[in-house]
């Protein structure tokens, strides 16, 4: 079994879930090396950028992984999401500069989700795809609005922006590839049961 762990925001929590579930996870020392693949406890652990977890799992290059709903939706990932974790919850918000004009231009790391959000509201706006520090776009007037994840709201407050609307409630999930799910039902059920229990205990 190959499991994809997201680097960054969710990495530590993701690993501790697997540790709590009784899996032999890569150690701190392992992680300090520049390796990206670790064999431990009969499992191949791979470490990839958070947004790439759904891609690996969707295509069967990893059997399961942990991914935020933001990345799952953005990649139109069709993998199963059998466990929703109690940690790492946040919101995807439409954010604007104070006194911003009606929405005509919006910057985001999530062009696909933003497009769907705009379509649902019948709003015609140009999407400017960025890869980070999205709030800056509104601060510097590159766009009037941005769509981004808000955890504590601190970034939004510091930049004197205002939150206008919730685009989606985001939480991390265990995702399991469809082909893996269908062809290795015993292994999958065991994985889900263990992770579910670990998630329940940690909440």
């Amino acid at each position: 079994m190959r499991i994809a762990i997201p680097k960054g925001r969710l990495q530590e929590r993701a690993l501790s879930v697997f540790a709590d579930a009784g899996y032999d996870i890569p150690s701190e020392t392992d992680l300090k090396t520049r390796k990206l693949v670790f064999d431990r406890g009969g499992i191949e652990w791979i470490f990839v950028k958070d947004g790439d977890v759904p891609v690996y799992v969707e295509h069967g290059a990893a059997d399961a992984g942990i991914a935020g709903l933001d990345q799952i939706l953005e990649h139109e990932c069709t993998a199963y999401q059998p466990v929703e974790f109690p940690f790492g919850h946040c919101r995807m918000m439409l954010i604007a500069a104070p006194g911003a004009p009606p929405l005509t231009k919006v910057a985001t790391k999530y062009p696909r989700i933003t497009r769907q959000f705009l379509d649902q509201r019948g709003v015609h706006a140009e999407i400017v795809p960025l890869s980070g520090s999205v709030e800056l776009a509104a601060v510097l007037n590159l766009t009037s609005h941005v769509v981004d994840l808000v955890e504590t709201g601190e970034t939004v407050r510091i930049h004197k922006l205002e939150m206008q609307e919730v685009v989606a409630e985001i939480s991390p999930r265990l995702i399991v590839g469809k082909n893996f799910y269908r062809t290795e039902p015993k292994t999958v059920r065991e994985l889900i049961a263990k992770i579910e229990e670990a998630a329940r205990v940690s909440s």
């Binding site: 069967g60 139109e76 999401q81 466990v83 269908r182």
Partner: protein, 297 residues
């Protein structure tokens, strides 16, 4: 970018070696199907969009290439053989000719989100039995699919898997409460599943559900699956997966998928669609499957 040195996304030529490989598999399939009493039909590569009307769901429509032809009609390039065969046959089949055993081969062009970076032009060989709603026909098609995928593949470590289910089970539950769909799709109990259905949905999700558990909700499907299960019991290739619900499309009963190779690739899928022919003006039960040949190892 100049188009001189590349092809549109998802298509490419097959040169001698790959073509030879494809033809080898194709010949084997055609021999096996002819041997099993199936006759070949040829269907057009393009067709009007209009006759398929409501049959094509928005998601499927998005997968096909469409254009307006010289007469101003909306045309789609073939993306699925089954509805085309129904449209071709329905006006002319005489009940006394049934059942028909037919097969077809050719390309379909399809843009699937889940096949990111993969081929969009897929060479398929499919077979159908039209006018037979019996469990025997279900079992015959499952066995035929197993024979085709298994034939000369001497890979002891990569036994194929055929997962089967009946789409009317989930449909019956979803008809009672739409929230069931979301829960089964995610494989997680979600808010909104009514108390009366929580037990069965939880069992389906955890994989503990048996045919006895689903029988009160979908008695006919449970009885059919039970008979099929008994008939294929001796073959380890077959696995009953009661929680499998997605993309039911025009399917009405048995639904199955064939996985093969070390990469657990889905190489074929099929099922029963007893209402499809009716939409083209003739009642006839039907069951079929299609293999995507280049996905076979």
């Amino acid at each position: 970018m100049a188009t001189k040195s590349r092809y549109p996304t998802g298509v490419r030529p097959l040169l001698a070696e790959e073509t030879a490989r494809r033809r080898r598999i194709e010949l084997r399939f055609v021999d096996a199907l002819a041997g099993a009493g199936f006759s070949e039909v040829v269907l057009p590569i393009i067709d009007y969009v209009e006759p398929y009307g409501a049959l094509v769901e928005p998601a499927t429509a998005k997968q096909s290439y469409r254009f307006v032809d010289r007469e101003g009609d909306l045309i789609a390039i073939r993306s699925d053989f089954t509805p085309m065969l129904a449209r071709a046959l329905a006006p002319s089949i005489a009940p006394e000719e049934l059942p028909l055993r037919l097969f077809y081969r050719g390309d379909v062009i399809r843009v699937e989100a889940s096949r990111l970076g993969a081929n969009r032009e897929l060479f398929q060989i499919g077979a159908e039995i039209i006018g037979d709603d019996s469990i025997d026909a279900d079992v015959a098609m499952l066995r035929l699919a197993a024979d085709l995928v298994r034939a000369p593949r001497n890979e002891p470590n990569a036994e194929p898997t055929i997962v089967y289910n009946d789409v009317s089970i989930a449909a019956a539950l979803i008809a009672q409460a739409g929230a069931v769909c979301e829960a089964l799709a995610a494989k997680r109990m979600t808010a909104g599943v009514p108390a009366a259905l929580q037990t069965i949905v939880a069992k389906l999700i955890s994989g503990e559900a048996t045919l006895n558990d689903v029988a009160p909700f979908a008695p006919e499907a449970a009885a059919r699956l039970s008979a099929i299960e008994e008939a294929v019991a001796g073959d380890a290739v077959f696995t009953l997966h009661l929680d499998d619900i997605e993309d039911s499309g025009y399917y009405t009963g048995l639904r199955f998928r064939v996985y093969a190779g070390s990469g657990r690739t889905k190489v074929a899928q099929g099922g029963r669609y007893d209402n499809l022919y009716e939409r083209f003006g003739q009642r006839a039960a039907a069951i079929g499957f299609a293999f995507t040949i280049d996905d076979l190892d």
